[in-house]
Symmetry: none
Subunit: 192 residues, 4 copies
DNA sequence: GATGAATGAGCGTTCATTCAT
DNA sequence: AATGAATGAACGCTCATTCAT
């Protein structure tokens, strides 16, 4: 097992356990055991549990971003871009349910709130940029309803999160058709 | 202090502390202290901390239900009923941010998942009934899009949760106009 | 076992273990076990291990103080007072070797240094008062050598500490005669 | 870097860190880092941390010994020899506060107690020899009080340790005059 | 010889739960 | 019914020591 391997095993183990049991339901010892390393080893790569949680979030965002941008064209019509990116997002959630469950926990915790607060104040690089751009442009061209960006975002993001969770928990099954119809409904919500 | 009084103090204290600090950030001793009772007393009314968490949820739903149904008329047009109930819901969240924060945590935890699983399987009384009825009828009359009820629910619920949280966290301010526009957007999402 | 009993068992256990093994050689679990209580119980009486260490020191000083002042007369000649208090001190160390070993560790650690620093700056109540008085008066009356109080103190305290330790470790045996001769020698050191 | 160089860097680093932070406040990794070597390297030269601590003590004594004997003449009068050696000792402590702090910690720990026990039983070479000789001869010639050597030693050593510590901690300033007066006072303590 | 990533026993501390009063 | 002192398993984290390279 080479050095970066070990870090990956830890990250993967943490992802799975945090996703399944929540942050405080997954002790460091359990993460270490599942990763096949000693507890101390985790602390070679992550200063504290908090750091592990935050870096995991960052890695996930970095992994998700290119996934969302796949096939995305800056100059395509807004509607197309909307469909493209939200379909990608929902597919991503479905394809990587662990990531989704993790991110949900993250944003629903002091970690995520702190993160959003920072993000909404200073404008950081990362996921929101492309979403922000889309909504700004759509508002400017009067394609979208006259609502604050935060609410427009909520109208599209909110249902997707709910729907993805329901799918993962088995309460509904999202095939391609259903995904498309769902995104369509979100589009109806935001478009003028 | 009569018996049910004590129970109420405990419930209120638990609500506030869970809402503010999360389930594992609120020790039983702290709950007892704020409620003005001994720790042991809590265990007279609630077998374990888990039971307390679940019963708190149930009480909140029971409190919310009449609030939502205020002014609700079974025989009103579907659109009106939709606006009525979702506006009530969003107002409730805004008016009782503690309740909202609590419920959010609850549904975003193993407690809530278990609860929903039970609810969606067997047919329970409770909140979803009136929503279910609304969506069933709306689908039947072809007012709503041809989507599974779970997804229709998500299209209206999802944004409301997101938007309520953003309001409580101070990321956006929801006044009456904004609430109305938001519900309108949700209506656009579900209506055919 | 009544409530204050428990605290006493803890204090006694901590004293013995700190004296024998040093602060970091005596884990809280070991202290609890020897005291016949659960670990958590210690934390009912002492906020942290540091607090336990500091309160133990304070209790010891409070216990020692009346012991030193036994038979001490403010208006006796300086020489008599000197003999009285230093004989008492040495006897105390010999009679309570645990206390001595504990205090030695305490003053030889960041805890003790911090304590002395505070004491030498602001003038606190406690042990040093009577010693200080003695040296001030003795200097004023030109009974003592013309040296800073800190050094006069060292000339009497230093050998006593060394000698007490040697006695406790069994390197020398201090009977009454030997104690008297030792104090006499200290007197020769400080007197003009 | 030649082999003995590495050992020296380790020893120096250990001295500084033990002196500043105490034995258990100075992890092996920290010692290695400051020495500019790998942790494993320390274990090439010292079997365990305990061995490192003990060998460090031995090296310090070996360094101190010639320092004390500087200008010391076996055939000089006892008084002169006394002044010579104790002045040297106090100067050494002041000039090498790191050494002093280290030695203080050492003698105030199980390490030091074990060391002294061995020394007082068997007859070892080292520091005490010249002190022992001095006190034996002084007692024989009736220059010193009729006290066991251990106590005579304590009467001179004790104040010096206390006074050196107070100087290093900044509680008093020892210039040449003060050093001389202090040694004088010690002489008064031991001389008949 | 030299390294430093890896280890896991052991630390100080917390907190859901119990039970004698 | 009501209490809160008492408990100890379990937590996050540290660090002396090892060993493959």
């Amino acid at each position: 097992m080479t050095k970066p391997d070990k870090r990956n095993y830890i990250v993967q183990s943490a992802l799975e356990l945090f996703a399944k049991h929540g942050f405080h339901g997954a002790p460091m010892t359990m993460i270490a055991e599942r990763a096949g390393v000693g507890v101390g080893t985790i602390y070679l790569y992550f200063e504290t549990k908090d750091v592990l949680i935050n870096e995991l979030h960052q890695e996930l965002e970095e992994k998700m971003y290119p996934f969302l941008l796949n096939g995305y064209a800056d100059n395509a019509p807004i509607r197309r871009r909307f469909f493209n990116i939200y379909t990608s997002l929902l597919r991503y959630f479905i394809q990587f349910p662990l990531d989704f469950r993790y991110l949900e926990q993250f944003y629903n915790s002091p970690y995520g709130v702190a993160f959003r607060r920072v993000k909404l104040m200073g404008n950081k690089t990362g996921r929101s940029d492309v979403f922000d751009e889309l909504f700004e442009e759509g508002t400017e061209w009067q394609v979208f309803k006259d609502l604050p960006p935060v609410i427009l975002l909520a109208l599209a993001f909110g249902p997707l999160l709910t729907v993805a969770r329901d799918h993962i928990l088995g309460f509904v099954h999202l095939d391609d058709t259903m995904i498309d119809r769902t995104i369509n409904a979100c589009w109806d919500a935001v478009r003028r």
